[in-house]
Point group: D2
Chain length 333, copies 4
């Protein structure tokens, strides 16, 4: 039995508590939040779990094996560090930390203490992303050409981070999971219209090979879009996360160059075949992820979404901010 | 009666001939193409119009007042220059020219000769774009925040220009028409997967004011997308050119900052009201444009889509290529 | 304070309990279900509400003012009757009863006892239906031409009623609410493919005036459709309940007859103007309905969705079954 | 070489002339229409084809082998009869004739004269319908459960026939082609809102086996719908003719009854697997059909869409009118 303390019961914390408290082998022993209203909500749904406004009660508790840090990013480092120092495993909301240095320090600390860090890259536990991963591994798409993601909607404005730090961690963590080749550089442009933090941004991620990736994140869109196009040499796919049933559509489409004698003799022919929408697992991703956390703790397996994965995402976010300050200049990773 | 010679009868030329030959006040006197097959097609549909494979027959003809240059961009300058030198008005396919210097030279020549240049920025004559223009002029959207365009599909690969020069002229000419403020710089990133020309590219256009514009152009997409989002302070709109009936949707949505004492006290509230899809004129844009060409010739009015408009688009295209060569570095305009 | 007992805690019961227990002025005093598993679920979410497997404990309880009957339709009559006999108001799931005679008996009993019956016609409390009602009352659509509804999906098969009794009560109750004119006759055709109850059915409802209504209900559709078209003389609308935001689209479209000298001289002209998607209230319909139940109890107001509304729906359902047995013969109401 | 005369050059005639005049082995020798404006249009596009306002010039011409009758339905019988009497094959617009008796007389006459009748059931030559036919023949869908078609839009009102005779021939001819089992009875309900002819109608077609078919046809819909759902025991499909690319979607979905001991013990389980959108032939259907007409004439093969197929559609249309007059009473076929 793994005993868990959850710090942070705002927007996402309730889902963490609900999942950890409903799976076999875990028990939530404490819920902490600075807001007494949040704790009221917690007690109404989980009357048997003790609550506190003092995070030290969780961080120092002797009956707690792992701490879930579900707070604003600016507090992740301090809370995770204390948890690790106290010998507790850490499950931490994304993005992992506010700086690259913080992520590196936490990874080192966890390794020294032989503790597990899992960063909550929820999307990599969805049926859709798992299915895409399998397609890529089986080379069904062939060499990858591009990864093009749009994640736009109206709000929610964050008061502490810009739209890239708010929305792009989802997409960066998915790309990091799907694509083995590591990014070489980032260019990002953004604009702050409503306050001093960028609410609209465009990010290009460069690779040393044939790939290019792009991310459109926007808090000011009248329509909600959650679409990723992945183009490959053999097949192409569209992942539309807003579709109820057919989240992935795989197109047997492509281009063939049939004559390369000279660039003027170029003959390009198109292939356009069937479309296929495979059924994907509909189980809540967080259910898989919380169970995987327990598995990793009990087997000692290092999670796919460990501190290093979290660090890679933070590096990308950090490079975005640097690039934005220089009007989109390419920042090497 | 304006007598018109058309050079180039490939993909787009037939539409030019059909429109000029069916409106009042114009007559197509000659169709020229290097391909005899193209001329066979022309004669089948327009048996009464003479055809030739020698462009000099059009450029030197004494019975021709205006030459339509509907050929690959690399030939625009030479053909348009000769036409102007021979005292003929010019209607030229977009993009106007292959270089900024060429565009400037043609503009100067036309002004000296008091001749008219019209660049075929067809989209600015669509009902949808005209309607958006009116909304912006009436300040219905308020201050503009962003202009975000996607124009992606499978093919057609061009053998002489990259995807930016192929697809972005549509969007640059529309943006140039809609937005009074002129761009200050461009960042572009692209990748050539199939041959040596970029087939996938992302362009950010910077302005000195609050605006940011972005263009996603791609020849390797499994799905066709023709969507532009325009976000404003008061309202936001989506222009989906693939919709049969409701090409424009105007959303009464926005964001209000209600407290700016400090960035930590920020209160952002969302406004989300009705959606409205105004009926737009469905007349073929090229019909309006060819009639407008005649009007400009007879009144001496300078076209909105004159050589200067064409030059502004070429400047953007040229800056994109420069920026791509430097991995997305911002290039001033 | 109104004290409520809820009988039936299967699929829909939890929503009833959640709403009645979270609004001001009501308290759920007892939850009854024959299944101990259902009661386990109830106690987990509502640990302070007593539960029982014996419905008499609810029906006879002296501390209960109103009974919510959220059980299969075959049991509605018996449970509602006992509740009324014991002086309790009744909130009963749709369809009201299994037969016309049962509905009439309950109405009479409630009137004699001066008790309130509310039939859970939830959809008439949605923002979308409320908005359509207002449009019709304001004559925005003009005279109504047709009401055309599709409610199809895969499953859920009921073991006690056919697809008409399962799905059409939603649509019949909405139509009954929206349209003042009362139906004159019903024709229905259906087919039972999987077991002995019809799983696919088509219903036409006739009116004495210009209106016609049609309902397509199907448990065997691969896609989920929840769409109603309402055509009027002046405007037409589409209500798509699966849309997240724009559930209602109002089209300024219509037909005008400009010449009626003879049927052969007929000139019909089409009007096609803007489309408008008004914002609609997104509050949970059941929240409005449960509050309205309390209001009716405290003011003595007769609910719009009273026993008579429930009876009108049961009459339509009953006529459908009669018509189906006679291969679609029109059955007068 | 087959020489063809075309009578009727209104809405559809130009497509007939264009196809017959562009395929190998046929030549259009004459175009006839009562309207001189129509003939002006014909001469503009086909300057070499003679035109006439007198149908006798076509019907009596010695250099014509086959007559295409592309006129209003009320004239089909007279024109086709004279053509057959004069020894000419007949290609006739759908619906074949205005009455069952007329269709029977033409069939008999053609058989006596050993001439071919082809009724222009264009849709059965589309790639989509051909693909569905193959799926049904291969038993991919299993036993068929239902055929549910919607064909609605705004206009065009016909002045001589109701909406059933205008729109349902498309769907009846497709159903007749796809489904071997023949219909046993028809129930139809409709309403005339704008003039004396029904503009909104609902048709149920009964079969002796497990199938049921339904057709929703409407001239007064604000939105255009062209969708057919076909439900089978093993798979289900949606044919959306308005989709550019994915006209057919095949769903690996179904229902299995796992326990039939008693109707109360019924256990129904759902199967929900992948969706597949096969590529379908995009060649113009009329191209295939006109070529098939020539093939039938040269080989003597009896067309699938012969007079008997035309008669079966007319029988259904006729039964619809009878049923509508009796408020939807089932009319046996």
């Amino acid at each position: 039995m793994i005993n868990i303390g959850v710090i942070g019961y705002g927007y996402w914390g309730p889902n963490i508590v609900r999942n950890f408290s409903s799976i076999e082998g875990a028990e939530v022993r404490s819920i902490c939040d600075m807001s007494s209203q949040s704790l009221d909500r917690a007690r109404k749904i989980h009357p048997s779990i003790p609550t506190t406004q003092d995070c030290r009660e969780v961080l120092n508790a002797t009956n707690i094996d792992a701490v879930a840090v579900i707070t604003p990013v600016s507090t992740h480092f301090e809370l995770a560090k204390r948890a690790l120092e106290n010998g507790k495993h850490v499950f931490v909301e994304k993005p992992f930390t506010a700086t690259v240095a913080q992520a590196e320090e936490l990874i080192e600390l966890a390794e020294k203490k032989r503790l597990t860090i899992m960063v909550d890259h929820t999307f990599i536990f969805t049926g859709a992303v798992r299915k895409i991963k399998r397609l890529i591994e089986e080379k069904a798409l062939g060499d990858l050409y591009y990864y093009d993601s749009s994640r736009v909607n109206l709000g929610l404005f964050q008061s502490d981070v810009n739209v890239i730090w708010d929305l792009a961690p989802h997409d960066f963590s998915v790309m990091d999971f799907l694509i083995d080749e590591k990014p070489s550089a980032v260019s990002a442009c953004g604009k702050a219209h409503v306050n001093c933090l960028e609410d609209t941004a465009y990010i290009t991620v460069h690779f040393d090979n044939n790939m290019i990736a792009h991310f459109n994140v926007n808090w000011l869109s009248p329509v909600k879009i959650r679409t990723t196009l992945i183009g490959g040499e053999k097949k192409m796919l569209v992942w539309n996360d807003l579709e109820a049933d057919e989240k992935i559509r795989i197109y047997d489409k492509g281009v063939t160059v049939t004559n390369r004698q000279s660039s003027y003799d170029l003959r390009v022919s198109y292939r356009s075949g069937d479309m296929h929408a495979p059924k994907v697992d509909q189980v809540e991703a967080l259910r898989h992820e919380t169970e995987y956390f327990l598995t990793c703790l009990s087997t000692g397996e290092r999670p796919e979404n460990d501190g290093h994965a979290g660090l890679r995402v933070v590096r990308l976010l950090d490079a975005c901010n640097q690039s934005m300050k220089q009007n989109g200049r390419s920042v090497s990773l």
